[in-house]
Amino acid sequence: MDLSFTPSEREFRAEVRAWLAANVPPEPLPSFDTAEGFRRHQDWEALLADAGWSVITWPTEYGGRDASLMEWLVFEEEYYRAGAPARVSQNGIFLLAPSLLEFGTEEQKRRFLPPMGRGEEIWAQGWSEPEAGSDLANIRSRAERVTGGWRLTGQKIWSSRAAFGHWLFGIFRTDPDSRRHRGLTYFLVPLDAPGVTVRGIPQLDGLPGFAEVFFDDVFVPDDQVLGEVGRGWYVAMSTTGSERGLTLRSPGRFLATADRLAALVSDLGDGAAPTLRDRAAQAWIDADAYRLYTFHTESRMRAGAQIGAESSANKIFWSELDRALHRIALDLLGTRGTLTAQAPDAAEYGRWLDGFLFALAGPIYGGTNEIQRNIIAERVLGLPKEA
């Protein structure tokens, strides 16, 4: 066991830190769930990409640096510590890209990865439907075979970034006689294709962070199918592993929040009740535990282990941690914690409210935490399925 960083990891960290210090915008950007904020976040992605920092784990030929998982974890620690902007491209770079790299044709990789990595094309995930939430296999949106491609019909919902985004990756039923997980196919669909209607849905903060997307006989050519026809579930599950596991929510994010929370308690001095001090310490300890668990996982992966259903443990842990961190901050701030960033008194505290609202979604998206507990119980602990 050697829990120190290697000289090359330290060097890498220093390089990341220096670049961020020189480039992170001093003022937070407007939310990417507004038209202007979306554009500004795209500009930030372009800046990151120009310097080679947007998608460091990708192969160099598509705009990455072939960075190791450990380098990526280091990058993320620095990224969040520096208070850098949220990643408007996250659905594409963290969820679609791993599947594209694994299942995509060479043409698809060349066509889609570079603009994704540069933030020029922002992707939305189109899995959920009105009747397919936790029960994702209940997908009804369908695709019919036509010459040269497919025609898509149906509705997707809760699709993050779709309100202002450009492309959608989604699963549709290609075999009308199929049920559940079979007969589904993974499609890549431009949101400006004829027959696509996008309607933004305001989230708890009032902004259209997700959208419903209607498909009315939308033509999609064959080269926009990812993986084999009928194997969409399989391709999609490779992405879900990323979403629940390491890549969507790295420890750096929670570490930075936990450190900010500790600083908030320090700043409040005697204004922080002892119980809140205790809760803050607990949450910080948990952020620390998440970080160590991730490093441990990284060591196991380097030794050749595959991560399976344990990624569900990860998802429960980070989502509950994030919610706890923000809840404690709001409790510390009292009524001031309920002020939006626009309120004159909110000062820098408005970010906690935004973060709180965002954190509340963590136990829901990516498969709810109840579903994750079912997975752990059945696939890790080996308990019998429900009757």
């Binding site: 066991m1 050697d2 829990l3 205790d278 300890i285 119980a377 019998p384």
Partner: protein, 349 residues
């Protein structure tokens, strides 16, 4: 960054686990009414359990905490009655005191004592700076005790022991009275302060490792019970409430484990954050084990609430060790003072 243990460390833990499978079954644990089985302790010592952290010149293996963590987790998984936490902590502290030369006489006696402890022929115990009682004092040949900022080795025969029976009966607890001239000074001043810190950290670390094992076993027992026990015509493990309880306990234990390992690494490598790292570990391990114990009892229903089921052998261990060497709140307090009062947040290089 490499979170893996060496092959030797794994092998040692496997050997301990193997030995305990034969010599520390629930029947054996129940039969160990006094809390100490000399034969079993000797067997454990024969494979190195009592000597890992004793310096080589004193008959030990000269290892460190990382060499022990996996093995101590196995002890917890077996609900080993012998005081592996206290004896290891005491032997390590005495060894360190002798190595650093921070001793005032009695050296020869202590060398013999330490060598016998490493062989498993004599037991050492130590008072935890956080606790009013000394564990396993009745089985010990000598006690490491702190008084007014100095540490002493006290012969058991020269101390008056008042038993304080506790919920974990095999882990015998005592109030200890002794005359200062009955003890031999081994550290004072700065050295004694360092010894107090090291003793507390090591006791907390090792009890954390033990708790991980106990918690793991409680979950395993509950999972297997939940598969067998039929109610409403189906195994209770198919009910979601039961599943979710067990999943939560599992998550808590899985996330506490790397934190315990990191604490071992920090102690071994003398990290500046060692106190805080140990406290984070003990807070997480105590909380995870308490959770596993509560879930295990709930999943077992009434049978778990008896002495007929084996469950209580682990429950009582968790109740005792999650509080010994500083409970979760105490350790969170120590994390808080580092984080909040001293503003030592950043962990990045």
């Amino acid at each position: 960054m490499d979170f893996s243990f060496t092959v030797e460390q794994h092998d040692f833990a496997a050997a301990v686990a193997e030995l305990l499978r034969t010599h520390c079954t629930p029947e054996h644990v129940r039969a160990t009414k006094s809390g100490f089985d000399r034969d079993r302790w000797k067997r454990l010592a024969d494979i190195g359990m009592a000597s890992v952290c004793v310096p080589e010149p004193h008959g030990g293996l000269g290892g460190d905490d990382l060499d022990l963590l996996l093995a101590v987790e196995e002890c917890g998984s077996a609900a080993l009655p012998e005081p592996v936490v206290e004896s290891t902590t005491a032997a390590t502290a005495l060894g360190a005191a002798m190595e650093s030369g921070a001793r005032d006489g009695g050296h020869a006696d202590h060398a013999v004592l330490l060598a016998r402890a490493a062989e498993g022929d004599a037991l050492l115990t130590v008072s935890a700076p956080t606790d009013p009682y000394v564990a396993a004092a009745d089985h010990a040949a000598a006690l490491l005790l702190e008084r007014e900022g100095a540490w002493y080795v006290v012969d058991r025969d020269r101390a008056a022991l008042t038993p304080q029976p506790s919920v974990d009966a095999p882990r015998t607890l005592f109030t200890v009275e002794w005359d200062s001239d009955g003890g031999t000074l081994i550290a004072r001043g700065e050295a004694a302060r360092a010894m107090s810190a090291a003793v507390l950290n090591r006791g907390a670390l090792l009890s954390g490792a033990y708790l991980l094992g106990a918690a793991r076993r409680l979950i395993e027992m509950s999972v297997s019970y939940a598969k067998d026990r039929i109610q409403f015509g189906r195994p209770i493990g198919s009910f979601q409430a039961v599943k979710h309880h067990l999943a939560d306990a599992f998550v808590a234990v899985e996330f506490a484990r790397p934190q315990v390992w990191r604490a071992g690494y920090s102690l071994t490598s003398g990290a500046a954050t060692a106190d805080r790292d140990v406290s984070a570990a003990k807070a997480s391990a105590s909380a995870a084990a308490e959770r596993a114990a509560a879930v295990a009892l709930q999943v077992h229903g009434a049978i778990g609430y008896t002495h007929e089921s084996d469950l209580h052998l682990w429950l009582t261990k968790v109740w005792a060790l999650s509080r010994a060497w500083g409970n979760a709140e105490w350790h969170r307090g120590r994390v808080a003072s580092s984080l909040i009062d001293q503003r030592l947040t950043a962990r990045l290089p």
